[in-house]
Amino acid sequence: MATLLYSANLNDCIARWREEGLMVFGPATTGGVSGFQEVKDAGSLDLDLILTRSTLKELFFPRTEPMLGYRIGKQQIETEEFRPPEGRRIIFGVRPCDAAGMQVDDALFDWDYHDEYWFRRRDSSVIVSIACTHADDFCMCTSLNLSPDSTKGSDVLLRPLLAGNGWQVEALTERGENALASISSLLKEGGDPTAPVADVPVKFDLEACRSWLADPENFESRFWKEISERCIGCGSCTYLCPTCHCFDIQDEGDTYKGIRRKNWDSCSFSLFTMHTSGHNPRATQSARWRQRIMHKFNYFSLKFNVNSCTGCGRCTRECPVDMGVTETLQAISTLQR
């Protein structure tokens, strides 16, 4: 017998969690744009989306975030440190690729300096993922050695029931068990069959790509220019990526008061690596695309033993010129032959 959560009880679950002081987030659509938003009831959730347009990452690493405030007086400077907001959260209806992405960035934010901005939110959040029963042409989790029902980065995994009326529930962490304990009266025991997971074909040979990328001979290959010629450097692939983490630090305000902020940045932008002297190590868009691919599939995995991509496919799905990681790695796979 498995533990089941029927869709009819989801609204009560959300109410129960909220009564316990938890904020509940989930996929929702506002103004035609989907993302993770705080919800008060099950009716606000958009659980049929294959993927939200913006990622789960934003709940842990906001697009812009104040780090400190300053106020300058005649005799002194007053500063105020801003810390991430307190408060426990349940994030319901996450896709496994997005959840796995959070685990990828855990490695970076815990490397050497333990980043409080990231981990305060991570430590106070429960990620409840739903295995995918549908995929689109852009999904490629299986190419990254993940799967539509991967448990990486999730605290609870829900498997949709074949009848479409709920989910089979599996706690994966202690945090997940605690979240389920508070809704235990709403969970049922049953043998209802689960729906098959989505069929996501493998689109490239990851190991072959990695070995091509790791060969220094290929760093100056003409391939990079050819594959990236139409990149317009808009950065949308980085902003919509669950694992991209680059940021900038800027002051906003005037001489008397203001805020020092951390803002998302992108390796696709020409100013990203520009030295003060005017020298730019990555002066061309092809050099920047090479860096993006190298970072995700060579450098990051060398350092942290995990690829910085979980196959969500947003980079390709939302690219204004129909480029993306998939096409590049497929082409590298071809170069191998």
């Binding site: 970076l108 940045d265 690596t273 002297s277 020298h279």
Partner: protein, 271 residues
Amino acid sequence: MKIVATRDEAPGVRTMRLEFQDPLELEKFKQAYRTGMFGLYGIYGEGESTFCVASPETRNDYIECTFRKSGRVTAALASAEIGDLMTFRGPYGNRFPIEEFHGKNLLFIAGGIALPPTRSVIWSCLDQRDKFGKITIVYGARTVADLVYKQELEEWEKRDDVELVLTVDPGGETPDWKHRVGFVPTILEEAAPAAGNCVAVLCGPPIMIKFTLASLKKLGFEEENVYTTLENRMKCGIGKCGRCNVGSVYVCKEGPVFTAAEVSSMPQADL
């Protein structure tokens, strides 16, 4: 931190001496700071900029930084006055392994505004002079006016335990210039310091580094005995923001000090 002294070094180039206001912060800095490390210096409302700590670990009651006015933050720093407060984050990065230099001859080579990181090592070694053999400093700038630390250059020139070779690029000399005229790599080859038992510390713009490394090779220096600093754009200083990547190296964490051998193993186009 409080600005306690300033000095104009060259057109647009300024040195500031900074002191900690909080004794605990000073103590933390003294514990952590080693020559080669850098910091993020800032003015509220304008932002932060990355420079090396130009003062040596042997003089760690204060911080000196030298910068060229070239953007919003450095313009604000340049117009700050003695007594003004500014921000400092750091020290970050790795260090020159000075203990490994003990008993060896030292060759310092710097170009233009890259004397500040070199100066930090020079003074760290001069402040414990008896631990090192012959010390040679080769320093060049585009013009006489662009030479920084002019007072210290005079001081080093007068010392009989330092050989100072100064040069300016052709056309950058003045009528009363008594030193060399020529590019650093050429002048270095003319000065021909012996490579045996010698460690070279090289800082400069990328193009100068490239040609000087070739000259050092000609002179017989092994890449393992040549140290340099990478000046990649850095913002967070703690290996998170992503912009200082060269290959799998995060310069702000694993650098900025590298041997020439380490630099050779990096993707050169990203330097």
